[in-house]
Amino acid sequence: MSSLALHKAEPAAGTNPGTAQGPPLRRRIALVPTLTLLLGAVYCLLPVAWVVIASTKSGKELFSTFTFLPGSGFSDNLSQLNAYRDGVYWEWMGNSALYAILGALLSTAVSAFSGYALAVYRFRGRETLFNVLLAGVLMPPVILAVPQYLLLAKADLTDSYLSVLLPQILAPYGVYLARIYAAAAVPADVVEAGRMDGASEWRIFTRIALPMMVPGLVTVFLFQFVAIWNNFLLPYIMLSDDEKFPITLGLFTLLEQGANTPALYTLVITGAFLAVLPLIALFLVIQRFWSLDLLSGAVKS
């Protein structure tokens, strides 16, 4: 199809400026993508740059000085945030870290088991199981979260760490990614060789397959870490005790209170700035030895 289209395009290309105007034209086209991308980068960095600067402003400066002019109140804001309700902000950060790290680890383990089984074994019901697990990705969170709350309430588990952790362990997309990585990274004859040597299936998985799957599993971990760290709906529904809140929910309640008291704005802004730091740092560090492309299931051999 594409070759057909190209032949149609040929006359147009022929009428284009020939060799004389070739080089400047080509340079201009390299300029367009670069500028477009730079514009995109500015758009994406703008709010982040704003929050960095705004967090340095005192309450008065926030409303009086030009937005992108740094202020002088960062340390004040920080100590105010520390003092707010005896440092509950840092509890929220700690909770988010706990939910995200523990949840993502468990999620990665479950995805690794499932992905490996689905990629390496031939067994009855394999595709059905895979499709059923994958269908979970299509389930709107609302049809899950409300009944999850009601069911967990029956088990007396709502408003607990478990109520936020448990529903997020199974990640359909993680299973999907793990299957792709396992299929690409674990050769069938290596597994077979392990069996010949008399290794148990568990041992083959932990000793041979798992190390091969590590780059893919890092991706599953990151994906799920971000998903849990960013989750709002589930903790919003499950939790009422604000000492168990993750940072998203904590900042939201802070904003809700602050809406009528602009004095709290600086707290919200400083809190938001500190909340985006960990994930930005994580991505900056990790992208040195990990490729973003892995997130979409790209496998390079």
């Binding site: 070759s3 290309a13 499932s114 299973v175 998203t248 909340a275 994930l279």
Partner: protein
């Protein structure tokens, strides 16, 4: 394979099921059971006898389709659905258009600063929707916003971004900002999977980069475009975090602005879990209907194109 399987039939045969046990259990407990329970609840209601006092005055009974007919005739739910459809009509095309544009630019020859811009555009993915809404929310506030500062200095009119029509744009912008990067990566990855020979032939034929992008690259990444569209529709119709976060900053976002917010409000504000369950089921069905309808239409078109 066969000899090993014969030696230890149980070890090998049972192994995949054992490996899949945790996922299956979690699926049953946290996916299948809640969905089943929601469907069950959607057909129930509370029956109040007498004055509703006393221990046995309130009992749960079958409601038939009552909750569904109530939900479908509830103007607030219908209006919420329309608001979200309007919002989705802005978010999905603009977000994916930008994602495709950036992916094509990243993939073009001689582009400078690509690693930096790629990371910068991807960055919002790492920022929670609530925080994103909070950041933009402040940027929309006249007292704080740099845009208003500039408009003020230039003596231009300053629209209220958090009301009426502009509110849709304001909310859409938050979703577009947050979602473009991830979709860009997905599309860029499939662009990179196109073998170089395809371009070589086109270049020899004298095709310009624009022609290559329009006639080779976009058709070849069509499957991943369809997939990103599919998932974006699902995600957009579930919008909850952004309007909920913006709500404290403006009076124009009601507690039932999006259908999901209405479900939350009915379940936890009013305590009517039966109505909320019916609405959740309707939203889920409508979402799946729309997203799969799109997928079918896209597949049919692709087949037609291939046949031509």
């Amino acid at each position: 394979m066969s000899s090993a399987a014969r030696r230890r039939p149980y070890g090998v045969k049972g192994a995949p099921y054992a490996f899949l046990l945790p996922a299956s259990l979690l699926f049953l407990l946290f996916f299948a059971l809640p969905i089943g329970y929601a469907v069950y609840l959607s057909f129930r209601k509370v029956h109040v006898s007498g004055l509703g006092l006393g221990k046995n005055a309130r009992s749960e009974v079958w409601a038939g389709l009552e909750n569904y007919t109530d939900a479908l005739s509830d103007s607030e739910l219908v209006n919420g659905a329309l608001r979200v459809l309007g919002y989705g009509c802005i978010v999905v095309p603009v977000m994916l258009g930008l994602a495709l544009l950036f992916a094509l630019m990243l993939d073009s020859d001689k582009v400078r600063l690509a690693p930096f811009t790629r990371l910068a555009i991807f960055l919002p993915y790492a920022i929670p929707g609530v925080v994103a809404a909070l950041l933009w929310g402040f940027l929309y506030l006249p007292d704080v916003s740099p845009f208003y500062f500039v408009l003020d200095r230039l003596g231009l009119p300053q629209p209220d971004l958090l009301d009426g029509g502009p509110l849709y744009l304001a909310l859409s912008n938050i979703a577009i900002w947050g979602g473009t990067g991830f979709n860009m990566i997905v599309i860029y990855t499939s662009l990179q999977a196109i073998p170089a020979e395809v371009y070589e032939a086109a270049k020899l034929d004298g095709a310009t980069p624009l022609q290559i992008a329009l006639r080779i690259k976009i058709p070849m990444v069509a499957p991943s475009l369809v997939l990103t569209f599919f998932f974006s529709i699902i995600a957009t119709l579930q919008v909850f975090n952004e309007p909920t976060t913006i709500k404290p900053l403006t009076n124009s976002v009601s507690t039932t602005w999006s259908p999901l917010m209405k479900v939350y409000q009915d379940a936890f504000g009013k305590g009517d879990i039966y109505a909320a369950a019916a609405q959740a089921v309707i939203i889920a069905l409508a979402t799946l209907l729309l997203s799969f309808g799109f997928l079918r239409a896209a597949n049919r078109r692709q087949k037609q194109e291939a046949a031509r």
